[in-house]
Symmetry: C2
Subunit: 453 residues, 2 copies
């Protein structure tokens, strides 16, 4: 039986181990950290994920979806908080079936690890940090965090699922003609919290992703099952309004009271959280190729870390697993062929979602606050209801469909131009000229059904 | 006395060690390879450098220029070889003082190592490979190639002069917010040779850089003091005309006879060279920042590897040394300040020469073959003679002046547009409308003297 070594037991690695074991492969999954089910490793980063169509599809394929959905909270749209406290709700989808789900990274990871352990063929090794991958011999070296002992493993196939700082990818830097970039945003992030109310209920709307958009920066909040919200402040590291200039309690309090006045009373531990939790950085990582012959490949953030603003990092990694699984099915045993097909299929899409995620930061922190933005969202959803085979809003293509990201990006650009024309002189959906809309859309947008799903 | 650790004893490291020791600093220079003065390490890569103004300035500053110029051969221009064997000579500069110098990488490196050894304060340690740099503690670990023994050095300042695959830079990948990219060309290169004639003389013009421009690929040749030429074929790795398709003697011979017929009789060892020498890859490396606090910095290719087509990789690295030396003089002892000023001064210029070098590949392999190109070169040099304070050809700004690369790039763009207008309807310099030229140049190009040299 073929043995596969997976380096990294995060979300991508633990899901992939199940996929592979279900195919009858023998999987050794090595994880740098201790078992998160017995040791708290959150370190001020509880982090919520937004689970959507691609992630749901993958979880269903390996039969763990039902289990996981018990921890999930549906978010039906964005709740925009203006500075004066005015709320406006912008639905994500055309109906109640089109929602995304708030889920805790830790909870999901633990559920996947347990499911992997239940799966015949998966062995998980915790506290084993990959310290070296030899791109010529294909051997992998691990150091045990408890004993400091090192061991070198020889397997014919290694997959790096070890995240944005991937050790396998770092080793690949020495492969001739390996292209690589990591580029950080000028913004950092800080995790904060809104606790449940006295009765254990939600202090603000449960079924929404809350946004306080302020142009160059923003605060967001995602719901948790215990009634709390995990909040994240995205702010430049340097400059006038920046983390650099929020060095003491007074400055932080003044900043929040001025820009997020309705959030302050909801956050009794604001100051503590602010100075206890680390300031995180956000990078986009791209590389090519994603493999070394048929011996090693990268998957998930290891191959393509993206910024979090489209809520697609995890969903994209899970879709990688789905596609790799298909490639294994088609080219059983020929790992070079499998990896060639997998990287060819995924690279263009990973690049597309990386760009879409960067663009969505500007949308979330700035555009959503415009009246014109709300109008366009309304018109988009109305057009989708009328022309469901041709006009699907970009957000929906990405979040509620499995249309390849690159296709969603290309159609999204075309649709944005059409939307611009249709919305130019109207104040609301009722002003839309349906005749013009029909003509333009049928002429310019090919049927979505013809696309590859 | 302040101790400095330099990692990498190539061209940049050996020159920098002299600069630093001349300031009274104590320098330990560690080099991965054995001493190239006693062991041949060329491995099919003899490599010629094109030494020009910035490099010459730096070598003169540390008093090693005279020594080195004895090995140098002046190249006065490009000798273009058409397929039918027709030669045309395009001078580089406006007169005989404006030339670049062909010099062997190995010879230059050896001369610099010897000069470094003669300099009080420099100690060179060969066979010591940097295996780790700890970005938090600032300790550097080396492994000895003979004994395999490792040692860990603690110095307060480490400078990575360890080239495009820098170990110090790789360690910096884990520094929060460290931006990095390495991007390879689709073209590779292969070193070949034209030996001296029977009498020990040069088979083709000695004082020229020879180019066989063929659109998507090219052959070049640079003279050596022994009468030989070091040739380099630049060709795509894959595709119809590519290294991939030159797998046997017959294919190589056919390819050369078809595209470089006048070169074939000059290269008796063509087939041997082709299959013995490795096929090299060419990358552009960018990163930011170039330092870790005041503890570590990158210099030369370690900070900014560029493709070789402007002949500026070494010259740029040497100019880094000149600028770092100025920063040390201005901020003596305050290494954080020194490194901040150094990287601020150099980053924008390193980015500019990286772009200029990529653009020059197209010029060398393609544009130089056009009649229009020769006309523009003629007109450029004529304009410089008439308006020496305003119009200096881009090639000259980069190669014969120390105008910052970023300024050369910006002025180069302006000048290209002006040149386009002036050359539109003429066949030769004699057709130039000097009145129009004067008006445009005086209106649009500020005095060069006002720029910072």
């Amino acid at each position: 039986m073929k043995k596969i070594t997976l380096v990294g037991g995060g979300l991508a690695g633990s899901l992939l181990s199940i996929y592979l074991a279900k195919r009858g492969l023998e999987v050794d999954l090595y994880e740098r950290r201790p078992d998160m089910r017995t040791v708290d490793i959150s370190a001020g980063r509880s982090i919520n994920m937004a689970l959507s169509a691609r992630g749901i599809y993958a979880l269903r394929e390996v039969d763990v979806l039902d289990d996981i959905m018990q921890q999930a909270i549906a978010m039906r749209g964005r709740m925009i908080h203006a500075v004066d406290g005015t709320l406006s709700f912008l639905p994500y989808g055309k109906d109640d079936s089109e929602v995304i789900y708030s889920i805790s990274r830790g909870g999901l990871n633990m559920a996947l690890l347990s499911a992997a352990e239940r799966q015949h063929g998966v062995r998980i090794h915790f506290n084993e940090q990959c310290t070296h991958y030899d791109v010529r011999t294909g051997t992998t070296t691990f150091q045990n965090a408890d004993s400091n002992a090192t061991k070198t493993i020889e397997t014919s196939v290694v997959i790096g699922t070890d995240g944005s700082a991937s050790a396998i990818r770092t080793a690949m830097l020495s492969v001739p003609r390996f292209n690589f970039s990591q580029h950080y945003l000028d913004h950092g992030y800080k995790e904060l919290t809104i606790p449940p109310d006295a009765g254990g209920g939600f202090q603000i709307e449960k079924h929404a992703l809350h946004i306080w958009p302020r142009g160059q920066y923003m605060l967001i909040a995602l719901p948790n099952p215990d009634g709390s919200f995990t909040c994240t402040l995205f702010l430049p590291f340097e400059g006038e309004l920046s983390f650099e200039n929020l060095q003491n309690e007074q400055a932080v309090r003044r900043f929040f009271e001025q820009h997020f006045p309705d959030a302050v009373p909801l956050m009794p531990t604001l100051i503590d959280d602010f100075f206890t939790n680390p300031t995180g950085a956000l990078a986009t990582v791209r590389c090519w190729p994603w493999r070394v012959g048929g011996r090693a490949a990268l998957l998930g953030d290891a191959a393509h870390a993206i910024v979090p603003f489209f809520g697609q990092g995890m969903n994209c990694a899970f879709e990688d697993c789905t596609v790799l699984n298909q490639c294994i099915e088609q080219h059983e045993g020929d790992w070079e062929r499998i990896f060639i097909e997998y990287e060819r299929e995924r690279k263009v899409n990973a690049d597309a979602i990386a760009d879409l995620a960067l663009a969505n930061f500007i949308e979330m922190r700035d555009s959503v606050a415009d009246a014109g933005f709300a109008l366009k969202k309304d018109v988009e959803l109305a057009l989708e209801k009328r022309f469901p085979d041709r006009f699907i809003p970009k957000y929906s293509m990405v979040s509620f469909h499995r249309i390849p990201y690159a296709v969603a990006q290309a159609r999204g650009r075309q649709q944005a131009a059409i939307l611009e024309r249709l919305c130019r002189d109207i104040d609301g959906v009722e002003g839309l000229d349906w005749g013009v809309a029909k003509r333009i859309i049928e002429q310019e947008l090919p049927l979505v059904k013809q696309e590859k799903f």
